[in-house]
Every structure is written in structure tokens, then in C-alpha cells.
């Protein structure tokens, strides 16, 4: 509960219109895109200026009220569920692109800008912002930054952290700070910018960001290869990379996903195949054509049963539709769809997919796998029904084993979705007790009263992975 005098002060800061606490409004911010989790906030506040954010944080800090920063609420790790109640701080009014600097190749904007809007804005002047998470049409750049979102172009272009150059952020104390900027080289002290990226709202609130831009690639081409087994597909990926070709995208679909996609989108995929790869290269036309031909050759040598090459960009987009339809098709099967992002080094791809198949069989749960083969970032996706407690328990056990397997193979529990609530109990598995302790001390320095997104990232004793908390 927020004491009524504090509520009045908060309303004084943002105005009545931007302070929400009716039952329907609170309920509609009790969840995000993560299945199963739900918890009610005490208020939803939608600030417009950095000064308002600073005043809100200062007040919340004094009264130890939790602050859960939120963009469009599309994250998949429960990162924006107000598990301890408090204030949902919705940053969508910070939705202006302030500047596209064509000399320095940067863009400066508020964290509430929609990712796809940034893409359109920079592409209209021939520039390029590569991170393209699946939710880019509605996700905010601030949310992308807080979770260090990836996407399909990670292999060649990296992820969000590779593009954030400068930040303005507010600490729980109300201090407004800046880090980084437009200078490409900047080694003045600790790299606070990198620390903030991926911090999942546990350290401060981002109020402005400057990102790096690239020249927009001239053209792109796509090819698909189908395989009778997993190993050949995985070897194709390895061979392409060792041939010194870095495609923009290498996506992978397993047989289960192919079948469901084909059933849904009627694309005429050869569903007797064990796997398919979708490879896209971008750049100057000559180089793109050369690379794609070379990749086709490699795929052939590595035993692809069937290869299709797009002749135009439009045809390529059509081929990509199979991959884009994956989530849609899978999510229609059962009421609850749990999309995970266990990630392994590229070279362990085949092994990981085989393990996931074995684990799904062992626990008798339905898991299909697709994902970004180029960077080893897989999306084992479980179709289940959250109302069936017994099945959910088996799902939990299966994912437990999948995370352990990813770690054993030298990978990680999460490639691009973040830790949040969903994977906090697995964090020690990846970073170790020492790592966890250091992270906690960093958190302490920023947020001594633990108001910033409390109950996230760091494991709490004895909490199961899946928690359903209703109001």
C-alpha cells in the first residue's frame, strides 16, 4: 500500500491523469508477456520528464516503495511483474527521438521509443540499427536495453549492448547521472554504460540513451537448406563460419517446429526432414551473391537434402516467413506457451538440440526447438496448460535439466531474455557464488534500500521456478 500522503505527493509530481490505481488499471499491469506470473502493483505512474522520475524515485526511496520500470511489457522473464507490489513506472511517454547524428552515426532518444520506429527513422536516412528482437514492433528501446535484447541479426551484428554508447539515468536517491556519450573511444573509469545494459531495472531508471548506428546494407539474399539429420545442419553452420563467412542471420527449425509451421501456414515444407536452416546475408550486391553461392556449396557438401535460394529480396522475405510463423504456429497448439532461450557455443548446437529432444521425451512434455543457430541461441518452446499443475511440474523439471545441460556444454541459462523472475534460481549455476556475491554488492552500491525491481535476478531461498501469485 502507498500511504495517502505519499500518493498525494506523487500525484503532485506527475499530475492526476498519470497516476493510476483503479482496480482495472492495476490488474492490467499485474502481468507482462511471461506466462503464468502475475502480481498486483499498488500504483502505475507514467512520468514525462527526468525531473519527475528523479522526484518519484527520491520519494519511493524515502518510503521504501518498490519501483518496477516498464516499457511495453513484452519481456519473457517476468522482469516487469511487480512481485513485491509498489509502483510500476511506465516510461512510454519518453517516446521521442531527439537526434539522428549523421556525422557521428548515433541516435539519441528517450527509452520509450518503439524499436521498430527507431528502425524506420534511421533507415529513412540510409542508416541501420541492427538489434531486432521478435517483439520489435511494440517493444521499447529502453526495455531492449534493460534486458540486452538480441534478435535474428546477432551473429554478424551483435546485440543491444554492442550499440549503447551513452546513457542518462536516475539513481534511487534521485541523482541524475550520465555515462558514455558519442565518443567511440572512452575509457574514463568503469564502464557504467555497459553495467546498466542488461541490469533489468535493478540499479536505476534510464531516461535517455544514445545508440550507435551503421550504414544500411545495400541488399540481402536468403537461402534455405533442409537436412535429414541434425548433425549435417550443425556442421554446415560451423563450416560456413570457418570459411570466414559471417552471414547476417542463420536460423534453425527442428522437425517438430517445421511440422507445426507447415500445418499452420501451408508452406509446403518437406516435413520428413529432420531440420532446416535459413541463412541470410546482407551487404553490397556482389559480395552478398558470392557469399550466398558459397554457403549453398557448403550446405551441399555437408549433406543438405534440398536447397532453395531466393532470387530477390521479396522472395527472401517469403522464405523467412516460415521462421516468423514459428511462434504463431506453436502458440496455437496449447493455451500456455513457454519460450526459453538457453544458449550454447555454436559448436554444441547439434548436441544441445538432441539433448532437448531427449529431455522432452523423458518428462513427457511437448517441446519444439527453433532459434538463432548462428549464435547458438536456441528457443526450446514448451506447449502446455498452466491450469494443469501436474504437467507444469514436469515442464519445470524438463527446463531445469535443459538449463543444466546448457551450462554443462559451456553455454548459459539465458541468451537474450534476461533472468528476471523466471531464471533467478539458475543464476548461481552460471555465475557461481562468488559472482553472485559481487553482483549483490554492486546492487547495494546503487540501491541500498532495495527498491529497484526487488525480488528479481537474485535467487530467493526455496522459491520454485514457476510462481503463480494472484492478488
Amino acid at each position: 500500500m502507498i500511504p495517502s500522503d505519499v500518493k498525494q505527493q506523487l500525484i503532485g509530481i506527475v499530475g492526476e491523469k498519470w497516476y493510476l490505481d483503479s482496480s482495472n488499471d492495476l490488474y492490467s499491469y499485474s502481468f507482462d508477456a511471461t506466462p503464468i506470473y502475475q502480481s498486483m502493483p499498488d500504483a502505475v505512474i507514467i512520468p514525462e520528464t527526468v525531473e519527475q522520475v528523479a522526484a518519484i524515485l527520491k520519494l519511493a526511496n524515502e518510503h521504501k516503495i518498490p519501483i518496477v520500470t516498464r516499457g511495453s511489457g513484452t519481456n519473457l522473464a517476468g522482469g516487469t511483474i511487480p512481485i513485491k507490489g509498489g509502483i510500476v513506472l511506465k516510461m512510454t511517454r519518453f517516446n521521442q527521438i531527439y537526434e539522428i547524428d549523421q556525422q557521428n552515426l548515433t541516435a539519441t532518444m528517450g527509452p520509450g521509443v518503439i524499436t521498430a520506429d527507431l528502425h524506420h527513422a534511421v533507415e529513412s536516412v540510409g542508416l541501420f540499427y541492427p538489434p531486432d528482437p521478435g517483439s520489435m514492433r511494440i517493444s521499447t528501446v529502453g526495455g531492449n536495453m534493460a534486458l540486452c535484447a538480441g534478435g535474428m541479426r546477432g551473429l554478424k551484428y551483435g546485440v543491444t549492448k554492442d550499440y549503447i554508447m551513452g546513457l542518462q539515468y536516475v539513481l534511487p536517491s534521485g541523482e541524475i547521472l550520465r555515462s558514455g556519450g558519442k565518443a567511440v573511444k572512452d575509457v574514463a573509469g568503469y564502464d557504467m554504460t555497459r553495467l546498466m545494459v542488461g541490469s533489468e531495472g535493478t540499479l536505476g531508471v534510464i531516461t535517455e540513451m544514445t545508440v550507435k548506428l551503421l550504414p544500411l546494407p545495400e541488399t540481402k539474399r536468403t537461402l534455405i537448406a533442409f537436412y535429414k539429420n541434425l548433425v549435417d545442419a550443425a556442421r554446415t553452420v560451423e563450416k560456413v563460419i570457418t570459411s570466414k563467412i559471417i552471414p547476417a542471420t542463420i536460423e534453425f527449425l527442428d522437425q517438430g517446429t517445421m511440422k507445426v509451421v507447415d500445418d499452420f501456414a501451408k508452406l509446403g515444407l518437406p516435413t520428413d526432414m529432420k531440420s532446416m536452416l535459413l541463412i541470410e546475408q546482407d551487404g553490397p550486391e556482389e559480395l552478398v551473391l558470392r557469399d550466398i553461392e558459397k554457403i549453398a556449396e557448403i550446405a551441399q557438401q555437408e549433406g543438405a537434402a534440398q536447397i532453395e535460394m531466393a532470387k530477390t529480396m521479396e522472395e527472401g522475405a517469403k522464405l523467412l516467413s516460415a521462421r516468423r510463423a514459428a511462434l504463431s504456429a506453436l502458440s496455437r497448439l496449447r493455451p500456455t506457451t513457454i519460450l526459453e532461450d538457453a544458449t550454447v557455443p555454436r559448436s554444441k548446437l547439434a548436441e544441445m538440440v538432441t539433448e532437448i529432444e531427449r529431455i522432452a521425451e523423458k518428462y513427457q512434455v511437448q517441446i519444439c526447438t527453433f532459434g538463432h543457430a548462428g549464435d547458438g541461441n536456441l528457443h526450446p518452446t514448451c506447449m502446455t496448460d498452466e491450469r494443469n499443475q501436474e504437467e507444469i511440474q514436469r515442464v519445470e523439471q524438463a527446463f531445469d535439466e535443459i538449463f543444466h545441460t546448457a551450462i554443462r556444454l559451456g553455454g548459459t541459462i539465458t541468451g537474450e531474455h534476461g533472468v528476471g523472475l523466471a531464471k533467478m534460481n539458475y543464476l548461481p549455476l552460471k555465475v557461481g557464488d562468488g559472482g553472485l556475491e559481487l553482483m549483490k554488492r554492486i546492487k547495494e552500491a546503487f540501491d541500498p534500500h532495495h527498491i529497484m525491481n526487488p525480488g528479481k535476478m537474485f535467487p530467493s531461498q526455496g522459491r520454485r521456478r514457476l510462481v503463480v501469485k494472484s492478488s
Binding site: S28, P35, I114, T336
Partner: protein, 445 residues
């Protein structure tokens, strides 16, 4: 799709004790659970784009329905406000990766609200007037048409404007009034021939679904539709006893009334053997094509409804499939198209109207940005949620203006009225007209 229906008289309240469990069973929990709250619907939602608030988004509304169904939220005025703040444009269905039938979830939510209110006897007199007294009775719609005609014909409108009488009307009605066209005289409407023969060899017999509002306010458009159909070999029959499609009732939670209207239409069109039942209003068409979803508990009617649905076509579909219209005139104009939400998102008909426009000699077609985003008309939304509707319309008009078109074409009477109103609001009366696609096609004959 599994749908739980509970046809028991809901909510028999006695002594103020709520027994709403019957009502809550109406919610289709399987479909509510199928929403994985990914948020992909948010950018497609006109009310979310205006407000930025989750409760004004499809994802938020489905969550609220879940809250009601699980009795975590109260079935109160706030929930009612949120359910009626939705345009029902269904553009979220196009965006939804999981195929959630949002339109039918919304209808159920509104049905639950209305049943609950009836049980508490709180239904508003305006709603009763609109739904019970007007749309359900073609004769009364006729009377409304006659009144409108009389006002226009006698010049009372000018007088009313001059004397400022128009300001006595609520502003919602006043703005609507300004956009209404010259309606056909009652005599003219009575004299309509019951059958219009096909020109040349008869290929098909079609029954024209005239609609209630369509036939009063856009009588000429119905006539144009019939004429166009005769040009491509259709004999057009005007079936008596047909009535309002029931879409507005269903969208407003008056499901029983909607079902009664559907039964009258099904029975009316069974009397004559037609190949197709053709309509020219996207909103009505979507409802006509979903009649079979309304009779899941009445097997006999379900069969009859399925037959009706199998014959139902939007006129765009039919004209697109039949031999091309031969035009004798050239229309030199820059033309753009505003999708009818229930034609595009509800029936998946996007390409056909555009191709028909482009088939007219001389027309320069320009695609408008976000053409399939709702104009804010949405049945009676522009009366019940006037302010938000006008915000959406004013945004739409910016995109209309960007096209520099001289004509904005639609396929639904509600959208057409809204676009006419939009042109007035944007001060574009001298540069642009709004018209129904059938009227445009007829001009080029």
C-alpha cells in the same frame, strides 16, 4: 473452437444477492487462456495508440475478462467502461500470433455486462431506445428515414442551423447530422422493384441484403449495388421481411436480440432460392458470416444458419470473381481506400475492393498509410465514446490528407458517415469527397 454457452436465464437476483456464477460461465476460458499476452496486438490497436494504456489494449482487456471470469475483479462500472472503450475493429485479430478470436470474447464480455445490469435493472433508456425500438424494427427505421427526408426536403435543416437549433442536440448527434446525405424519399423507396433482371444472360440469382441503416441513409448505394450486379449477369432479388443483421446488438452485448434478428433473416432468405446473399456493408457482412457461431445450442437453427452463411458474400468478393464490369466513363481522380475493419480484419477482404477501384478507367489509386486501421466510427462508438472517436478520426484524417486524394472510398455505411464527418472536421470539403465503392463504380458505368 470450443465455446461454453449457458443459455439459462442469467442472474436471477433476489433480495440484492448476486448470483453471477451462471454469467461468468459464458466466458470461453480456453480462448482467454490462449492469449499469451505477448503484446503483439498493442501497436495495431487504435485506442491503445491514443491512450498508451494497457486497459485500452486488447491484451489488457482480455486480462480484465480473465480477472472477471476468475472473480478477481468486480463486474462493475469500471469494467463496463473499459469493455465499451473498445472499437471492436478486430485489427488485433490480424496481429495476433495465437489466433485468439477477440471479437467474440468482447461480445461475451459485453453480454455478461448487459445481462448483469438487466438483472439489476440498470439498463439505460437510450440503449433500450436504440436497440429495442429502432434497429429491431425496419418500419421504425423507415420512420426515421422519413423524418430525415422531411427535415432535408423542407429545408428545416437550414432553418435549424440558422436558429442554432442544431446546438440543442447533443454535440454527438449534431456532428453526425452534419454528415448525413440527402436520404431517398419514402415514396421512392416504396416504389422499388422487387426483382431487377440480369442484363444479358442470367448467370446467378442473388438476394440483396439491404441492411437497416444502409437502406435508410444510403438507399441509392443499395440501388447502385443491385445495378452493378445486374451488369455482370445477376438477377437481383429484394427479399421482404429481412431485417437488421444484429451486429450492433451482438457488439453491444444484446445477444438474445441479435439471435432473434438472425432467425428472421435466415427464415426470410429461405423463402426464395438464391445462389448468394450479397451485402455491401462490411460490418453487417462479418456478422452475417458468423451467424453459425450464435446457434451452438440450437442444432436445428445451427444447420439453417450454416446454409445461410455458406451463401453469404460481400459484394466486393462477388464482383471480383465475376466477369469484369465494362465501364463507359472515365473518372479522372486520385482515389484512396479506407478499409472497413470488419471487411478487412473480420472477413479478410482487402485486395478485392482495391482491385475494383483500380479497374476504373482514369482512376489514379493511392494507398493510404494504415488504411486498415479503424476510423473511429465502429458502430455506435462515435456516439457513445465521442471524444476518443474524434481523436482517432482526426489522426486518420492526417493520413487521408497525406494521400492528396480527391476521393476516399469505403465499403461500410458507418465508415462512410465517419469519413464524411472527418472531411468536414478537417476542412477538406472543397478538395475531397467520401463515397461508397459501389457508388464510385456506378458513376463509371
Amino acid at each position: 473452437m470450443k465455446t461454453k454457452q449457458n443459455q439459462q436465464p442469467a442472474c436471477e437476483t433476489t433480495g440484492g444477492i448476486k448470483t453471477k456464477n451462471h454469467l461468468l460461465e459464458k466466458f470461453d476460458m480456453d480462448e482467454i487462456m490462449n492469449c499469451m499476452h505477448c503484446g503483439f496486438c498493442l501497436p495495431s490497436c487504435p485506442t491503445y495508440r491514443q491512450t498508451g494504456l494497457e486497459a485500452y489494449s486488447p491484451r489488457g482487456r482480455i486480462a480484465l475478462m480473465k480477472g472477471i471470469a476468475k472473480e478477481q475483479l468486480a463486474l462493475d462500472e469500471e469494467f463496463e467502461k473499459n469493455m465499451y472503450a473498445c472499437l471492436g475493429c478486430r485489427s488485433c485479430e490480424t496481429a495476433c500470433p495465437a489466433g485468439v478470436p477477440y471479437g467474440s470474447l468482447l461480445e461475451t464480455a459485453r453480454e455478461v455486462i448487459e445481462e448483469n445490469k438487466k438483472a439489476k435493472q440498470k439498463s439505460s433508456w437510450i440503449r433500450r431506445l436504440i436497440f429495442k425500438q429502432l434497429f429491431s424494427h425496419p418500419r421504425r427505421m423507415d420512420a426515421l428515414g422519413m423524418a430525415l427526408w422531411a427535415v432535408q426536403a423542407t429545408g428545416l435543416q437550414t432553418l435549424a442551423n440558422k436558429w442554432g437549433l442544431i446546438h440543442v442536440l447533443p454535440r454527438e448527434m449534431a456532428e453526425m447530422q452534419a454528415a448525413v446525405d440527402q436520404v431517398a424519399s419514402p415514396a421512392k423507396r416504396r416504389k422499388r422493384k422487387k426483382v431487377m433482371p440480369a442484363e444479358g444472360e442470367k448467370a446467378l440469382t442473388v438476394g440483396l441484403f439491404t441492411g437497416c441503416m444502409m437502406d435508410v441513409m444510403f438507399y441509392e448505394t443499395n440501388q447502385a449495388t443491385a445495378q452493378l450486379l445486374t451488369k455482370v449477369g445477376c438477377e437481383v432479388v429484394f427479399i421482404e421481411n429481412q431485417t437488421c443483421c444484429g451486429a450492433l446488438h451482438a457488439h453491444a452485448g444484446e445477444k438474445q436480440d441479435a439471435i432473434e434478428l438472425a432467425k428472421r433473416n435466415i427464415a426470410a432468405f429461405e423463402e426464395i432460392n438464391v445462389d448468394f446473399i450479397v451485402n455491401n456493408a462490411g460490418g453487417c457482412g462479418a456478422a452475417l458470416k458468423e451467424y453459425h457461431h450464435w446457434f451452438l445450442d440450437e442444432p436445428e437453427w445451427l444447420e439453417r444458419a450454416k446454409k445461410f452463411v455458406s451463401k453469404t458474400r460481400d459484394v466486393n468478393e462477388l464482383l471480383f470473381e465475376l466477369p469484369p464490369l465494362s465501364f463507359s466513363k472515365t473518372i479522372h481522380a486520385r482515389v484512396t481506400y479506407q478499409d472497413s475493419c470488419h471487411l478487412a480484419h473480420g472477413q479478410g477482404i482487402r485486395n478485392q475492393p482495391r482491385k475494383l477501384i483500380q479497374s476504373i478507367p482514369g482512376v489514379e489509386y493511392i494507398e493510404m498509410q494504415s488504411a486498415d486501421s479503424c476510423c473511429g466510427s465502429a458502430g455506435i462508438y462515435n456516439i457513445t465514446n465521442f471524444d476518443l472517436s474524434m481523436q482517432i478520426l482526426d489522426d486518420k484524417m492526417k493520413q487521408v490528407k497525406d494521400t492528396k486524394a480527391q476521393m476516399i472510398v469505403t465499403s461500410n455505411p458507418g465508415c462512410l458517415l465517419q469519413m464524411k464527418k472527418g472531411i468536414i472536421r478537417a476542412g477538406l470539403q472543397d478538395q475531397m469527397e467520401a463515397l461508397h465503392l459501389m457508388d464510385l463504380l456506378q458513376r463509371a458505368l
